[in-house]
């Protein structure tokens, strides 16, 4: 029943088919505890299906999922108790107030009876909905309902949060609040796997990125580590224009292309290799006037990977 406890999520050969379509294709993925992982990919890449498989809402065609060491197939109850999932589309009981809505889920998650009310107040404050605590949910705006959904997701303090487009329907201020909330959650040791199309926002608070394309995991790793493994650099020389042939035949250099008056390229080996390359260029008499690392965003990495597969 128990799997490696160091991983918050561990999937092995996870596959899900819908008739002739393979939504998730033999996926092996381990999400570290305490990480905030951005799950990105184009429409139809299998992000939502993957989140639903991990949360136990969908049964895999083959393979397995373990949450905090508990396999969903063998111990679904234990696994579910340890995760909070905010689906892309979900309903709320509109005839209840937020307090009554959360009270139901607090009971369902077996939250200690004596502290249910204080926990509800605390969670609604966390998501900025405490003013509406006793108003019927049918009067809440879309963004407020999204916040109530988020409150339900974190109500039982699960060690793992799965969020599918959590910022959907939120105004810019609320998005900032959401980011702060997720950061606080991760700082307390929680693990978060968040799917979103707003890549610039994910950049703000994610520590890892997992890129899905057509059901396959095409990249997974730490954002910081990615920078140490491969650097994207920009080079300018005087007098211009710079020529891509300048880097031909140099080890570890790839994807060189001229953009404006600069030559952009990738160098394997991180900062050390980039410094060695600069030394080599100067030694070879190349008149370098500018040599800088480009701060590569999730969006750049994602687009590069997806375009290279196209």
């Amino acid at each position: 029943m128990l799997r490696r406890m160091s991983a918050a999520i561990a999937t092995r050969g996870l596959r899900r088919e819908f008739a002739e379509t393979v939504a998730v294709r033999d996926l092996d993925l381990e999400i570290e505890k305490g990480s905030i992982t951005a799950l990105v990919g184009p429409n139809g890449a299998g992000k939502t299906t993957l989140l639903r498989l991990i949360s136990g809402l969908l049964e895999p065609t083959s393979g397995s999922v373990a949450v905090e060491g508990f396999e969903m197939e063998k111990a679904p109850r234990e696994a579910r108790a340890r995760l909070g999932f905010l689906p892309d589309h979900f309903g709320i009981y509109e005839d209840l107030t937020p307090r009554q809505f959360l009270r139901y889920f607090a009971r369902a998650y077996r939250w200690p009876r004596l502290s249910v009310e204080s926990r509800i107040v605390e969670v609604l404050e966390d998501v900025g909905l405490s003013e509406k605590i006793d108003e019927p949910a049918e009067g809440l705006s879309r963004g407020m309902k999204q916040r109530l959904g988020l409150a339900r997701t974190i109500l039982h303090e699960p060690p793992l949060l799965l969020l599918d487009e959590p910022a959907s329907g939120l105004d810019p201020g609320s998005r900032q609040d959401l980011q702060n909330l997720l950061r606080r959650y991760a700082a307390r040791g929680g693990t978060i796997l968040v799917s979103s199309h707003i890549l610039a926002e994910l950049e703000e608070y994610c520590t890892h990125v997992a890129i899905l394309d057509r059901g396959r995991l095409v990249h997974h790793g730490s954002i910081a580590a990615a920078a140490t493994q491969r650097r994207r650099m920009s080079l300018r020389v005087h007098p211009g224009p710079v020529d891509a042939k300048l880097l031909e035949g140099r080890a570890g250099v790839s994807r060189a292309a001229v953009r404006g008056d600069a030559l952009e390229f990738e160098v394997d080996g991180g900062d050390e290799a980039a410094a060695a390359l600069l030394r080599a260029l100067v030694a070879a008499g190349v008149p370098v006037v500018s040599y800088a690392a480009i701060d590569e965003k999730i969006q750049d990495r994602y687009l590069a990977l997806v375009r290279s597969r196209d």
């Binding site: 008739a19 065609t61 083959s62 197939e73 109850r77 689906p87 979900f90 309903g91 009971r107």
Partner: protein, 434 residues
């Protein structure tokens, strides 16, 4: 005690909060009280044979509990699937049993409230009646509660089978509710009848009071329906379970029918096979289900299609009926016919599965067209050629002059051929590249 129940089944306090607001309880309470008082007042002026308060109040009770209550239970899971809240419930660690019981007891809370309001007036009607004894009033109460349990359980079963994208079709609803109708009608007619109970029902050789027979039957069928609804919810919750429901129901139906006397052809053979075919059609077992089943040896038994278990149950039952034909009052030809029908049903089920693997669009419809032709064409040829003696070669007919095995042989050969074709398709499917 109430706190413990609410803690175990949080659906009950949720429903109470949503549907039993104080204003609603007060208004409904006042309405029921005024209505009951008026009826009571009227009854004091009228002759009991023309205006029987006992009957009128029990009709109201039945409408409230069986009618309103069942409607609320039937909407319980299906409404949640439509609104998108069902998945939130599936995500909780609540077990399928806790969810099922919560829906069963929580959804009809308002109906229960109305019934509780009516109950004292029922007691007063019995007290002032010259015809109805207190014992008979109690019998009516017990029977109504049992019939309500059956109605709610079947409603929950229907609701649990609703898909999130499309509701249960009317055909399926009618199929699932059909067994309930005669039961509920009999039970309710007995509940509301002020006269002496109808003559006793002879069951297992014992004369049983109808109210008792219907009460026990309702509780047994209700328990089966509730457990089946729970099992369907367990499928949504990915809880491991054995597909025992169909075989258990088929065997139970046969045993239950045995209580009335020797098994006739209709109840002993046709009814179980009809249940089996309907379940096989409703199960929607397509290529991805086959693949998922065959690729997970650990869940081989728990994820097997229900028609396989149902077919095994029908086969076991037919073999027992046939083996015991010499020692039981069961008609010998019925016993042999049960085997004959079984091989044809097996052939048709294999063909249905084969079509599901071969045809993408409407495989069930096409399968039934071909199966219909497989029965109609030989019948037509035999009719045109006037050779009824040859019917046993292609149709489920017993040829009197031949032994049982010879009679079964043509049907068995067809079943084996179609089964082999199905087996080949399954092998191809499991080897197919992804």
């Amino acid at each position: 005690m109430i706190d413990d129940v609410c803690a175990a089944l949080p659906e009950i306090p949720r429903r109470a909060a949503a549907e039993c607001a104080r204003a609603r309880l007060v208004v409904s309470g006042a309405t029921v009280t005024v209505l009951s008082f008026c009826l009571y007042l009227l009854s004091t002026f009228a002759d009991e044979r023309t205006f029987n308060l006992f009957t009128i109040l029990w009709v109201l009770d039945a409408v409230v509990l069986v009618g309103l209550g069942s409607a609320r239970v039937m909407a319980s899971v299906s409404d949640e699937k439509r609104l998108g809240t069902w998945e939130l419930q599936l995500l909780t660690p609540l077990s399928s049993r806790e969810l099922a019981l919560g829906k069963l007891l929580g959804a009809p809370l308002f109906a229960v409230w109305l019934f509780v309001l009516l109950l004292p007036w029922n007691a007063m009607a019995v007290a002032r009646s010259d015809v109805v004894s207190a014992a008979r009033g109690l019998e009516s109460l017990v029977l109504l509660i049992a019939a309500t349990f059956l109605a709610w359980s079947v409603s929950l079963l229907v609701s649990a089978y609703t898909s999130s994208k499309q509701g249960v079709s009317d055909g399926v609803k009618i199929f699932m509710l059909a067994p309930l109708i005669p039961f509920a009608a009999s039970a309710i007619s007995l509940v509301i009848s002020p006269d002496d109970r109808a003559r006793a029902i002879r069951y297992l050789g014992v004369d049983t009071p109808p109210w008792l027979f219907l009460t026990v039957s309702s509780v047994i069928f209700g328990a089966w329906a509730l457990e089946s609804a729970r099992a369907r919810i367990a499928v949504d919750k990915l809880e491991p379970l054995l597909p025992w429901r169909l075989p258990a129901f088929i065997l139970f139906i046969e045993l239950y029918q045995c209580g009335f006397g020797p098994l006739g052809l209709a109840v002993g053979v046709i009814v179980p096979c009809a249940i089996l075919v309907a379940a096989a059609v409703g199960e929607q077992w397509g290529p991805s289900e086959w693949r998922r089943w065959l690729e997970r040896p650990k869940r081989f038994w728990s994820q097997a299609p229900c028609w396989i278990y149902g077919l095994a149950a029908c086969a076991a039952s037919a073999l027992v009926v046939f083996a015991l034909r010499a020692y039981s009052p069961i008609d010998g030809s019925t016993a042999a016919y049960s085997l004959l029908v079984l091989v044809f049903v097996a052939r048709d089920l294999f063909f249905l599965q084969w079509m599901r693997l071969r045809v993408r669009r409407n495989p069930e419809l096409l399968a039934f067209v071909y199966i219909g032709i497989a029965y109609a064409l030989p019948a037509l040829i035999i009719g045109v050629l006037h050779v009824p003696d040859a019917a046993w070669l292609a149709l489920p007919f017993l040829s009197k002059g031949r032994g049982v095995l010879v009679n079964i042989l043509p049907g068995a050969a067809q079943a084996i051929l179609v089964g082999a074709a199905l087996s080949r398709e399954v092998r191809l499917l499991s080897r197919a590249p992804r």
